[in-house]
């Protein structure tokens, strides 16, 4: 049973990633189309082609470099293997990668007192894990292994590909919507609206709705994917380390220590082991299941 659902998970992640790419591409082209229609309908086709090219460039760039962008935004640096602590971290990652039967991801460290971690990349062969110094300093070996095993199960079942792509999509769609609103401001005033008739008005309204709805839509996707797969990764972590108590203890420590003030954008918060930022929107847009609930499930294993 477990094998099948694990395989299904990989298939689902790959398929969802493709859907999301198509969504971002289609959104870019649509924005191009609407801007073209507003600006000058006679050359609207040019706008569509340009938008399509930009869209394809965006999608392929983020497919290959999404992980580097995420690492950069979070100020992650490669682990310093001259340092005994960070060497230890690398050893733990390599050991658990062997247990999981995957290639060991590259190891990064984020200098922060907060205790957190994330994994990113497009496949188990091209993946990275990043751990905050707070986590590294405050956890003992069993606890650290629990957290790393959790991240490696995200790597193994391609959660990282979809999750990284969502992060990029959240950012891109927000930028595109903003860009669209700006172009409406400038482009809209140039022509006398009476010349263009009601079809142009309709297009503008459709464009406006799109520009408002799309960012909310990707946020909803971001929220929906995360919770269930956190429980799943916790379970796979216990399966790898054969010691669920380690992960449960790590979560208990994190709950006591973390203030939720990490300097990361909301767009990538779902990648993290626990929610890096506590905001008033959390009840609406919670990207993580409550820590208490996770601990309770692990303790029952």
């Amino acid at each position: 049973m477990e094998k099948i659902s694990f395989h299904d998970q990989i298939v689902r992640n790959k398929r969802n990633s493709v859907f999301l790419m198509i969504f971002v591409l289609a959104f870019t082209v649509l924005i191009g189309f609407v801007i073209g229609e507003i600006y000058d309908p006679s050359i609207a086709l040019l706008f569509i082609i340009a938008a399509a090219i930009i869209g394809i460039a965006q999608v392929s760039y983020s497919y290959y470099n999404g992980d580097k962008m995420v690492l950069k935004i979070t100020n992650a640096r490669p682990a310093n293997t001259i340092d005994v602590k960070e060497k230890h971290l690398e050893n733990v990652v390599e050991g658990l990668a062997i247990a999981a039967g995957i290639k060991a991801p590259k190891v990064y460290v984020i200098d922060s007192e907060e205790m957190n971690a994330f994994a990113t990349g497009r496949s188990p062969e091209n993946s990275s894990v990043a751990i905050t110094t707070g986590l590294l300093n405050k956890l003992n070996r069993e606890e650290l292994e629990g957290v790393i095993a959790h991240e490696l199960s995200h790597v193994r079942n391609y959660d990282i590909r979809f999750a990284t792509f969502i992060a990029i999509a959240v950012g891109l769609v927000a930028i595109l919507s903003y860009f669209f609103m700006r172009s409406m401001w400038f482009g809209g005033g140039r022509h006398d609206s009476r010349e263009r008739g009601s079809s142009a008005g309709l297009i503008i309204i459709v464009g406006l709705i799109l520009a408002i709805v799309a960012p909310i839509l990707v946020r909803l996707i971001q929220m929906a994917i995360s919770r269930q797969r956190e429980y799943l990764a916790d379970a796979s972590s216990a399966q790898l380390t054969r010691y669920p108590v380690g992960l449960a203890n790590a979560l208990a420590k994190i709950k006591n220590v973390n203030k939720g003030n990490m300097d990361v954008p909301e767009a990538i918060s779902h990648l993290f082991f626990v929610d890096p930022t506590k905001t008033y929107l959390d009840s609406l847009y919670a990207t993580h299941p409550p820590i208490e609930k996770r601990i309770e499930i692990l303790r029952k294993m």
């Binding site: 005994v84 060497k87 230890h88 050893n91 390599e94 062997i98 247990a99 039967g101």
Partner: protein
């Protein structure tokens, strides 16, 4: 009509054959892969042991026995060929290293030595990797053995002359805790 049924049966039989052949091959390859993971770590550790002995020898002048133990274990490790032999030699080496690190607790100068700490981290990292590689290897062997010892897998295994494979395991007598004498 009868031809169609015959063709259908042939296709079904062929599909079953292909499935079992591939399944057995995949599981068998996974074991080889898992084994090479263990082997890599065993080799790394065997290479590191002389460094460790070299760096602690000067401090631990009165612990001759333990160095002999480590050197002996290392030699056994290098001689071992089969899975069982390697498992046995591995345990011996693990115990010998544990003894060294336990004794090192008595030497504060050693505990403050960066070089020693790094070696210790590296060796205990390898120790854990061996444990995890063994876990992955034994899981793979279990799955393979279940396949080739139960019906219908056993029929295919016989045709392909595949037999159940040995576990990489610790026997009860070797699992007892390390005795450190002062």
């Amino acid at each position: 009509m009868i031809e169609l049924i015959i063709i259908g049966i042939i296709i079904a039989v062929a599909a079953v054959l292909v499935y079992f052949y591939n399944r057995i091959m995949v599981l068998s390859n996974r074991i080889s892969n898992a084994w090479s993971q263990i082997d890599v770590q065993l080799k790394k550790r065997t290479d590191l042991v002389p460094n460790l002995v070299e760096s602690v020898k000067g401090y631990m002048k009165h612990e001759k026995n333990v160095f002999e133990m480590v050197t002996k274990a290392r030699e056994n490790m290098m001689k071992a060929g089969t899975v069982q032999e390697k498992a046995k030699a591995n345990n011996m080496l693990s115990n010998a290293l544990k003894t060294i690190f336990a004794l090192a607790e008595n030497y504060p100068i050693l505990k403050a030595n960066e070089n020693f700490l790094m070696l210790q981290e590296e060796l205990s990292g390898i120790e854990n990797k061996i444990a995890y590689a063994r876990q992955f290897y034994n899981d793979s062997v279990l799955e393979f053995n279940n396949m080739v010892t139960t019906v219908p897998g056993i029929w295919f295994a016989n045709i392909m002359s595949k037999q159940s494979k040995p576990y990489f395991e610790v026997t009860e007598s070797e699992r007892k805790p390390v005795k450190v004498s002062f």
